[in-house]
Amino acid sequence: MTTQAKKLPGTDVVVVGLGWAGSIVAKELADAGLRVIGFERGAWRDTASDFNIASAADELRYVQRQELMLRTRQNTCTLRNNVTQTALPMRTWGSFHPGNGTGGAGNHWAGITFRFQPDEFHLKSHLEDRYGKQALEGLSVQDWGTTWEEMEPFYDAFERVAGISGKAGNIGGTLIEGGNPFEGPRRRDYPNPPTQQTFAPTLFAEAARNLGYKPFPVPSALASQGYTNSYGVTMGPCTFCGFCTNYGCANYSKASAIVNVLPALIRMPNFTAKTHCEVLEVRKDSSGKRATGIVYVDANGQTWEQPAEIVVVAAFTFENVRLMLLSGIGEPYDPVSNTGTTGRNYAYQTANNVQLFFDEGKNFNPFIGGGAIGMGIDEFNNDNFDHSGLGFVGGGSTRVTPIGAAPIASRPVPPGTPRWGSQWKKTTAQYYSASMSIGCEASNYSSRTNYLSLDPTYKDPHGRPLLRITFDFTENDLRMAQYVTGKTAEIARALNPSLVVESPRKAPWNNTSYQSSHVVGGFVMGADPATSSVNKHLQVWDVPNLFVVGASAFPQNPGYNPTGTVGALAFKAAHAIRTLYLKRPGEMISV
């Protein structure tokens, strides 16, 4: 297939994928004067034409028919829970929602934009110090090879470009009342103040405060006011329209690459975007130590080779890992021998939920909302509480963020309600406005048996193997899920609902209903090439001109949404290329 590729003139940089990570890297490198070509397998998306406010609020189109998601016919994954099973392909997206087109999954995201905590970046060392080595038995949790201090400037950069709305809890070590007391010390507050809150988050925060917790506004990529970022592009204030998660934002309120980066980037004469162009592999020279460019297929089915001095792979987690496996970058991970790094430490998110039903006196107007508008507490997240004797590590971010109860999907009813007919109609009418939920987005710690590899059977339309996910929730995570869901339910009961339904995440993992699109790892960062694929600059070990950027670099997943860290890593990689790599091109960055 690749032998037929026609060779194009070379360029300085190719970037694979024009979602958050790829767009940021491309912009930062184009700003440095490099000639950048960005490749995107999907369409060019633009708020004015694709997410016009007159047509963007369409649940059938965007939620039921998943218009913004990758078509499984184009590319999908196979899945199994363990190595004894034969994986089968996902023919419709269920558990997660990979995006497609410029902006990627960052178009249909919710907008929750946490920073990870300082201890996360040396999690293995921290947990072993506190609880002993046996606490991590069966887990392959590890350190990131970087530190909070090294990450902080890049979190700040991402928050400025994305116009994040929130309230600081810790500025330079000083705790700020009303913010998250568990966050790492930040250099300054968020660029925008928090949005107003709707009824359900307000009630939750009151109840949590009464129980002694410290509720804070969830940091949000939904702008609370008009905001113009350093690239010159402007966001409008969120209108709480409720068509947020799974939709593109029509009001320029939800930060995304298409709102915050690409309008400025596409004007630059040294940047070119190639859409409907799917990258097939990263080419290496005969030494295997230098990437020579990429091979891609265009919309007409013609295959091309695009040579470049620097290759940045910044697609979604799955495609980052699959491209590395297909291109022979790094040794594929083998769970039996516990060798190899490509595909290693795949992790997910442990999503738990508590639903509250009120028989009288509550009207939540649940159609008002946005993906990241809400209040949260972090008392039961990560290692913010003492795990001694609990039999697990990790935890979750507990919060109420009503995303907007759209009419088709949002029909909360108590268990036991008939699934159709007059009783169902009566019950949905009764509880549509009288129900709320508290989520607990919890950590998922990597283990030896959860990993990514190429499927031996199923192939994509180009004849390349699909990516195979081997994953199930570990005993550690299931115990954690029970515990944090119980704590969440205590807060729920303090609100005096007539019914509380607890749904801690249970095994086995399956694809039947949506859980989270926070798929991470598989090409992780670290200080040791034996257990990681990229160094702390996202530079591939032994292939110095290849950088792989995204949530694929997370060694495990804490109880937070990943996008803030994906954005920070993109700025970190671009900064390393600009300030370090270009001084000594072709060499591993050693500082």
Binding site: T47, A48, S49, N52, I53, A54, S55, G226, T228, Y231, G232, V233, T234, M235, G236, P237, T239, C241, N251, Y252, V259, P263, A264, R267
Partner: protein, 408 residues
């Protein structure tokens, strides 16, 4: 662009301008100046089809009288202006007479360009000589008979055209005079913003007081309150022309093109001069009384506004700077002629994307889900709320505009 300048300079060595052979550093400065003048005059708007070679012509210009097409003004000797002398060019700019005395139609705004100094025309000419010649035949005159008879223009000129370079006013500052020179001449602002007579000539007594052409209303851009730029500061005007957006408004439609191709590249001191001049124009007159809020049409309009418009333009009509135009006290909203407003609601519009403000937001079309009387009601409400006051918009006005848009 850089490459263009270099090749231009190289080319100049071999180009003779009659008695005015130029070369070396002088030519570089002259050509640079000419290039800026071409930007000031927005020559590309009518003479370059996007994606085609610079100034090779072919842009279709719909006038109330029929179709005209922008000429090829590259130095090609058969299809461009390669055989022209500077005097031919000067005649074109100053008198509307092309080479061999052929009379131009005023879609080529010689009625404005006549104000341009001979010196500036010379620089522009020098620059145009450096453009890559493109062989591209353009039939500029596609008017129906008898308008296609160019000789008619001599009569038209007699009635509508006063020839002559801009003459500075001694009682005004140099800055004011520079602004007047740019606005009246190269900027040819009056082409859209000055009302036209039945013959298509400028109504000079209402200079820049707002015009209508091709279904678009160009607002009053004098310093007049209410319908003009009275509320805008000089800074607001400069920001608008430089970036396409300010705290009040964001350019769309034909003005978006003017900003995109021309004004965003004007020097700051020139934009400042324009602002000083415009703010000094116009006369204040009594504001009309707004329609009473209790009128049924206002209640209907308010309900539609809250449901369909307030999400972006905000409940109090203040809008969001650089993104969603402010409707309160907006000149275009208060203009006597609501044609533009009707068109924007029915067909939507896309704002300009500039270097300084790249977002380029859009207004959606509502033709498919608002009826004529609903569009009329919401516009009437907008035109008579938050300090606005203007005539009621009728359903038949909306219907006419809708019919015209459907034909396009």
């Amino acid at each position: 662009m850089k490459a263009l300048i270099l090749s231009s300079v190289a080319l100049l060595g071999s180009v003779s301008l009659g008695a005015h052979a130029i070369g070396g550093q002088d030519s570089y400065e002259l050509v640079s100046k000419g290039r800026y003048i071409a930007t000031l005059g927005d020559c590309t708007a009518c003479h370059t089809v996007p994606g085609q070679p610079l100034f090779s012509g072919g842009v279709s210009i719909d006038t109330p009288f029929g179709k005209l097409v922008g000429a090829n003004i590259t130095p090609d000797t058969t299809t461009g202006i390669g055989r022209w002398s500077f005097e031919d060019f000067q005649n074109t700019m100053a008198r509307g007479h092309a080479r061999n005395g052929k009379r131009l139609y005023p879609a080529m705004p010689y009625t404005a360009y006549t104000k341009v100094s001979r010196e500036d025309n010379y620089a522009l000419w020098a620059y145009l000589r450096t453009i890559e010649p493109v062989h591209h035949k353009v039939e500029t005159n596609q008017l129906p008979f008898p308008l296609s008879v160019r000789l008619n223009m001599s009569v038209w000129n007699l009635l509508n055209f006063s020839e002559g370079e801009y003459q500075p006013k001694a009682d005004k500052s140099a800055q004011w005079n520079r602004g007047a020179y740019l606005v009246q001449g190269l900027g040819h602002c009056g082409t859209c913003h000055t009302p036209k007579s039945l013959l298509g000539g400028d109504n000079d007594s209402a200079f820049l007081r707002g015009g209508a052409l091709g279904g678009v209303t160009a607002p009053d851009i004098t310093g007049t309150d209410h319908v003009g730029l009275g509320a805008w500061s000089e800074d607001d005007i400069v920001e608008y022309l430089k970036t396409g957006a300010n705290r009040y408004d964001i350019a769309s439609g034909p003005m978006a093109e003017a900003v995109e191709h021309s004004t965003q590249f004007w020097h700051d001191q020139d934009l400042r001069a324009v602002a000083v001049y415009l703010k000094d124009l116009g006369e204040q007159h009594e504001r009309p009384e707004p329609l009473a809020a209790e009128q049924p049409v206002m209640s209907v309009g308010r309900a539609i506004y809250e449901d369909r418009c307030s999400g972006c333009h905000t409940p109090n009509g203040e809008g969001i700077a650089k993104l969603f135009p402010k409707l309160a006290n907006a000149p275009l909203v208060n203009a006597d002629d609501p044609t533009s407003l009707i068109g924007v609601v029915l067909a939507g519009s896309r704002a300009v994307s500039t270097e300084a403000a790249p977002t380029g937001p859009a207004m959606p079309a509502f033709a498919w889900n608002l009826k004529d009387d609903q569009v009329a009601a919401v516009l009437t409400y907008i035109r008579n709320t938050w300090g606005n006051a203007a005539s009621e918009v009728t359903a038949s006005e909306v219907g006419k505009r809708r019919d015209a848009l459907m034909k396009q």
